[in-house]
Symmetry: C2
Subunit: 338 residues, 2 copies
């Protein structure tokens, strides 16, 4: 890959280990958006952040925290991987508006307003009813805009997503999902949503989770590149990136936690089913972080030029994060003394 590119993967939730961090470096990945909460409440989210602090201490030669987008550039210069914290749900803020700023200070740069189910803020993509953004949700969107936290609607229902985009004064992203055009999964996005995200100057991160792809685990790299090309045409080259949804080495129990949290006594299968309840088989061409180069090469063969590839592989992610983080909220001694 071109050494000038900033390579960012817009969603991973792996069973973190030194081996995985090393694979990130070997794969030329400069930063990864990692999930710190699915259903965790405020207190539990702090434990997750504490676990990351332990990793920064133990594996500080390989990874570093990202508090501001500039830290991604620093990470690349240092030869470390920047870790961007995000939540896949609004559970970390519970019912308290001021916790958005508190969590932003702790480095939470991205938050989804809902995860599959109805939340206090809006509807998730598996609900049969979608009443749109709630009263609290509107307050939260305004506050996320203010403190520089990026709004992610990956697991949200359509009306809620469109209303969030409409109400937000900042770009809204889909960190990890694909166009429904290529697989009509509940988690994938309609053309209407794609157009609205593009209009907001947000971003769609292409998912490599097999259940989000045409032909599932049998999706070919060429199929994937076709999807990228189609979406680039529809949304614009500056509105797309990667959001692999890589969940490397995670046991079944973690998949069940993601899907069921503490909310159900019956098993929920997400995009899977009772007869296909486990992790899908990995794609042959994307097993771990070392495989990003193969994707870039295939996109190059598809006809994207070097500048366009730089945007897709991470440049667009850096731009949208930088734009969201432009805020007067004091997240450190430096940013406050302007």
């Amino acid at each position: 890959m071109n050494q000038e590119w900033i390579v960012i993967d817009g969603l991973q939730y792996s069973n973190w280990s030194r081996e995985i961090f090393d694979q990130m470096r070997l794969g030329g990945v400069n930063a990864v958006h990692v999930t710190v909460a699915y259903h965790e409440n405020t207190r539990e989210t702090l434990t997750r952040l504490g676990e990351w602090n332990q990793r920064f201490e133990t594996d500080g030669d390989l990874i570093r925290p990202v508090f501001q987008p500039e830290d991604i550039v620093t990470a690349k210069a240092e030869g470390r991987v920047g870790i961007i914290f995000g939540a896949q749900n609004c559970s970390p803020i519970e019912d308290e508006i001021q916790l958005i700023g508190v969590l932003r200070r702790l480095g939470l740069m991205i938050m989804q307003l809902t995860y599959n189910n109805q939340s206090l803020l809006g509807a998730g993509c598996y609900e049969s009813e979608d009443g749109g953004i709630t009263r609290f949700g509107r307050q939260v969107i305004r506050e996320m805009n203010r403190v520089g936290m990026l709004i992610d609607m990956s697991h949200s229902a359509e009306r809620s997503t469109l209303e969030a985009i409409d109400f937000s004064e900042q770009p809204v992203i889909i960190s990890h999902a694909n166009p429904s055009e290529f697989r009509p999964a509940l988690r994938n996005k309609s053309n209407k949503v794609l157009d609205a995200v593009a209009q907001s100057e947000g971003l769609l991160g292409f998912s490599l989770y097999p259940f989000h792809l045409k032909n599932g685990p049998d999706c070919s790299l060429e199929d994937f590149c076709d999807m990228v090309a189609w979406t680039a045409e529809r949304m614009g080259i500056e509105r797309i990136g990667l959001g692999s949804d890589l969940c490397q080495s995670q046991p079944q129990a973690v998949l069940e936690w993601m899907r069921n949290g503490r909310w159900s006594k019956q098993m929920d299968y997400g995009e899977g089913s009772a007869s296909d309840s486990g992790w899908p088989d990995a794609l042959s061409w994307f097993q771990d972080n070392r495989d990003f180069k193969g994707i870039a090469d295939a996109l190059s063969r598809k006809g994207f030029n070097d500048h366009e590839l730089g945007l897709i592989m991470g440049g667009n992610w850096l731009n949208v994060l930088s734009r969201a983080a432009t805020s007067s909220f004091e997240t450190s001694n430096e940013s406050g003394s302007a």
Copy 2:
């Protein structure tokens, strides 16, 4: 007061308002160490920090957060008052070592290991037994040293205090208390403790809480200056500062929360008593933040020169905070990129 001085009050827990912040500015105070937790657990502490974020938003022309000691200098330059967060108890970290780093990132620069009672870390000053620093306590001291959080033993028992000083690799402070020599309150400190704090290159912040002073509310400004002069002689001019313990406009319910938290069904009276259970009358010469100038003037008459007064009024506080904060712990994008 000399405009070159950095003026820092080492402990206040007032009923915060715009009026009080304005009095701080009028009094020439550049930074104040404010209490964010007495008995609050982790989750509740975040609510307290969220309340401060609201104040920074509403009264941002008067106050600013302090994440690093340099922010105090910035606050002075801006004509704002720097707010230094501290906890009077270890309740905010519950039983979790990694929460020290998490709270440090949120700006918690100072933490007491105990508040009056036995804690998970050591014994408080009202316990009849003092078994010293616990197993967890030793881990916490090491971690506070590592992340740059200052150890405060104001409300701790003697053996625990001496062991903390012995075990810590950084200076240990008493943010607000006085020498027992001047009033033998359980909250005041023996010569042995004063000497150990001085030896650790820590600091004693003189309390203006009447129950900590000779003659209580009738303590004269001259009595106070005598105490300062005696302590400067014993501990050294670089080891003393102010820690007023000002609790302006607080109702009786707050005093009871401080003393009783949730741990007792019987009323505990702290340094008061059943017949004297309320807030003590304020000193005639220290009613609010506008009275620091009078103290500096009296100390000047007592014979302290300008340089010495600068140290007492805040220079020593800035030095000890700066020393504690010297750490490799990444608290922001800037400090991490060294």
